[in-house]
Symmetry: C2
DNA sequence: TTGAAAGCGCTAACAA
DNA sequence: TTGTTAGCGCTTTCAA
């Protein structure tokens, strides 16, 4: 009645022996196929598994079948609310398909990113999702992908040779600025942006274009890291220009949080004196004060599409731009209701 | 000069053949041991690896060696800023030790959590880190851990049979409330808390104890989910009591974000009319408006300790309570400087 | 210094 | 319906 308590794991051989069957039969009942098993034999096997606390080794199975039911995800900053949300959406979609996520943060370090990708490939993930710190913009040396599906996330546009996904950043930015101009009569819309999402960033193009279409001059622009601290510094910078902007379009929620901070600190009434609109539309943006009017990226749909691409054998490389949606809250000066 | 372009992966056998050596030698150069290889032989092998773009299969290696260089992490809500931060800290510590993270979100679902743990164990992770939705408080059936090191994270206290880590929540809460009473003369400190971290939650005990020591009556208390929405609702609830609290201690940053929102909406000056102190002290808490005075949990140290425990073979189950640190910002009414 | 070969735990083709 | 067995790609002992 005693069963092994030593460190060695219970294998299907132990179960087979205990149940008095062959290892093949054990496999058949564990996987419910591909051969059928007599009901009472199956019962004996199941009993043996229970008694021995048998836990199939999923890695061994993966080695045999050539699929690991694992996806790799590499991103540059998992603390950025947009990436946090994207990451969760991907994990959920993956779970739906019975896959788990191996995650790694490259901290925006190009070499580390390269290493991480290589390692994950070595771990034989079934697919690799990458928010690259550089490949999104620069068509560079081909990735060392040896038949492992790869999808580039958060891309401004097509990347030769790879599947990619991204928001219609130009359109989203245009809509944001348009709202500021049309609904709130802003004439001097400032812009805060980070680096790495295309050069120039399509959001910058959207902002410029909208201003131009309205016959307005380009407002002041500040470039800073994609963080709250970055947005904070950029806003103080903008505020010190003369003339200062009368409103600000911030290219990410992460930065917008810092922008709001700087504005409050300067005693400026965000909705009234200096309307702000951000880009991303994460959950987060609804809880700032005031709640951010923001251009929402359809995170769930993007995640779903990314996994579809990973699973579709070998369609030709394609880029998928997702429509964004302007969520009106109060930071722009509109009077929305509470959450 | 042409090399296989078919879907099959290049294996060490291909490399061995190409370099005209045995597979053992390939292994020796890949792992730089355990036998030494003649310099020029090694060079030939390396050349072969380069030409064939050889990528060792890390899973096969894991199967053979019995260690996967992978850690599993299961938590109930990866969007909660505290868990996001903890997760990143763990990933960093793991990276330091050459391990990657397999992550999964249980969404606070007990059954799913159980499943996830089992699956990760089946994947033969070298260690499992678990923020349990229930096991933290309830000593329940032993986990199906078959020799895989397990560490319970974010625990209020010892859990029989398991390693665990957590903040000194009682002490932290006491310090927070004490600050409100001593430095800001609050007499009726309200409390917002969630469920699942011990019953009663040590933070509640710390709050009660501090009030009692000061000869004050217990303020109003509201229980809500560990989310911004939860904190928002709880605050509105508290505000509707009569008499309403004159200040609030919120048991998590996540909820505090919502609390601030409700307070602003009600037109209450947070620093002045209704001081607020939160628990967690995430990065996040420094970017709210006003910046939250908060009890910081030493996330990095906790992550480091968790990994130490995973790596120390089989020390007796122990609980590690970490000291917290009250970060004074402005939500309590103090006048701190900018970030 | 190198090679042959056993075996990690599993699946599935093939045989019985 | 069940059993035997050949690998999946790798490491490492043992022998040469």
């Amino acid at each position: 009645m005693s069963h092994p308590t030593n460190p060695r794991n219970i294998t299907r051989a132990d179960v087979a022996r205990y149940a008095g069957v062959s290892t093949a039969v054990v496999s058949y009942v564990v996987n419910d196929g591909p051969r059928s098993v007599a009901p009472d034999t199956a019962a004996r096997v199941r009993e043996a598994m229970r008694v021995l606390r048998y836990q199939p080794d999923l890695n061994a199975r993966a080695l045999k079948k050539g699929r690991s039911q694992t996806l790799g995800l590499v991103m540059p900053d998992s603390m950025n609310p947009f990436f946090t949300e994207l990451s969760l959406a991907i994990e959920s979609s993956a779970a739906t398909r019975g896959q788990r996520m191996l995650v790694a943060d490259s901290h925006g370090d190009t070499d580390l990113e390269e290493q991480l990708v290589t390692e994950l490939l070595g771990r034989r993930v079934d697919g690799l999702l990458l928010v690259s710190s550089f490949r999104r913009s620069t068509p560079s040396a081909p990735l060392p992908v040896q038949g492992t599906p790869l999808v580039l996330l958060d891309c401004p546009g097509p990347v030769p040779g790879h599947h990619s996904i991204g928001p219609d950043a130009h359109g989203g930015a245009f809509a944001a600025v348009d709202h500021l101009i049309r609904e709130h009569d802003q004439r001097r819309v400032g812009f805060i942006i980070g680096e790495g999402f295309g050069t120039p960033d399509p959001r910058q193009l959207g902002w410029e274009r909208c201003l131009q279409d309205a016959g307005l001059r380009r407002g002041p622009i500040a470039v800073a890291p994609w963080t709250a601290a970055g947005g904070y510094g950029a806003t103080k910078d903008l505020l010190s220009r003369s003339p200062a902007p009368d409103s600000i379009f911030v290219a990410s929620d992460a930065q917008a949080v810092g922008a709001l901070h700087a504005l409050h600190e300067a005693g400026i009434d965000v909705g009234g004196d200096c309307p702000v609109v951000s880009f991303d539309g994460t959950q987060h943006s609804s809880w700032t004060w005031p709640p951010l009017t923001s251009v929402r990226q359809p995170v769930e749909a993007m995640a779903e599409k990314a996994l579809d691409l990973v699973h579709s054998p070998s369609t030709a490389p394609s880029h998928h731009a997702f429509d964004t949606h302007l969520i009106i809250r109060t930071s722009c000066g509109c009077h929305a209701s509470s959450p």
